[in-house]
Point group: C2
């Protein structure tokens, strides 16, 4: 029987490179799956239902909220975004390590519902480096950057509640570290109690002989 997968939430400051890291994990290893969000916003050209998002109507989304079918959700501008529990559970059950890339507040909500969720925070080595990376994109105005930085202050506070902080100084190193950290979680004692109990009862059997 395949071991149940590990659910990992990855968050990080703008410019942390977390998008690239996720992409690399998915292409290098076959044990990972990305969670798919549900949203009420309209599909953009090229976006597929069940691949990029689950596109649902507002009523359907609000029904999912009422039925506690979402691990977390938030409203941006006019639209809802959330993480359907069912899809995540199916992937975990099939042995996939599911990665959820969401913000800190959502991450903490997910862990309330599924306490063995691994919370991983990724950061560039310094705020100067965050600034440089955002600047280098060429698409961000100074005002944009300031807004992102202001939001990062809250994220940096909530990051204290995460399990791991991984600094993205060298991309290759960072990919390796994220992979190792997720893989290590497979062996946590809280996930292994069943195995240990089995050994305990086998010992008891042996001693009785």
């Amino acid at each position: 029987m395949k071991d149940r997968g590990v659910l990992t939430v990855v968050s990080g400051f703008a410019g942390s490179g977390k998008g690239t890291i996720m992409k690399e994990l998915l292409s290098r290893y076959d044990n990972y799956a990305l969670s798919i969000s549900a949203t009420t916003r309209a599909p953009r050209p090229g976006e597929e239902h069940g691949k990029h998002y689950f596109f649902v109507g507002r009523e359907e989304f609000e029904e999912m909220i009422r039925k506690d079918e979402l691990l977390e959700y938030a409203r941006y501008v006019e639209n809802y975004y959330g993480t359907p529990r069912k899809y995540v559970e199916e992937m975990l059950g099939s042995g996939k390590d599911v990665i959820l890339e969401i913000e800190t507040q959502g991450a903490l909500l997910v862990r309330e519902k599924l306490p063995d969720t691994l919370l991983l925070f990724i950061s560039p080595p310094s705020v100067q480096e965050i600034y440089n990376r955002l600047k280098k994109r060429g698409t961000e105005t100074e005002e944009n950057i300031r807004q992102r930085m202001t939001r990062a202050v809250t994220e940096a506070e909530l990051a204290e509640q995460y399990d791991y902080l991984i600094i993205n100084d060298d991309l290759e190193e960072c990919i390796k570290q994220v992979h190792e950290t997720i893989q290590a979680a497979h062996f946590r004692m809280d996930r292994s109690m069943e195995q240990l109990k089995k050994l305990q009862s086998e010992f008891a059997q042996y001693i009785k002989q």
Copy 2:
């Protein structure tokens, strides 16, 4: 500045292969160091002071106990065995990941003194397999094996307090898993708070500008 090393206690049932795993980790990676025990027993031929053991007199050992210079100690038959804190601290300070191979009771004592110690328990996949491996050594009588099994019952109970359980089914897989688990510990949030606080204060600086 080099990151402080991770202190890992590795325990496991007789036949778990933990000795082989430690040897492989030390020969494959240069970040590991084994802790060296102090003992009051006489050196055997070929054993060197400061390499295999720190050989000390009984009075000296008891003085170390009184001065709280041991992370744990135990008495077997006529002799003391213990883990000098100073050597472990020096190795950790130089950035080495220190591995301590001791029994469960000692392991829990170490974690009381150094709460960020990682406790790793290694087991063969089944009690039948433990029996087979001990039998295969050819040096163990049935009575010996029974004694080891009886001791394993207590160990299996104390193992519940460990952080990780790693099953040694395939040696290569197991070496990799132990390595990944120890490396992941470098990024635990309790070890990274200083780095996070630094980022938080850099953000505060940036926002004030």
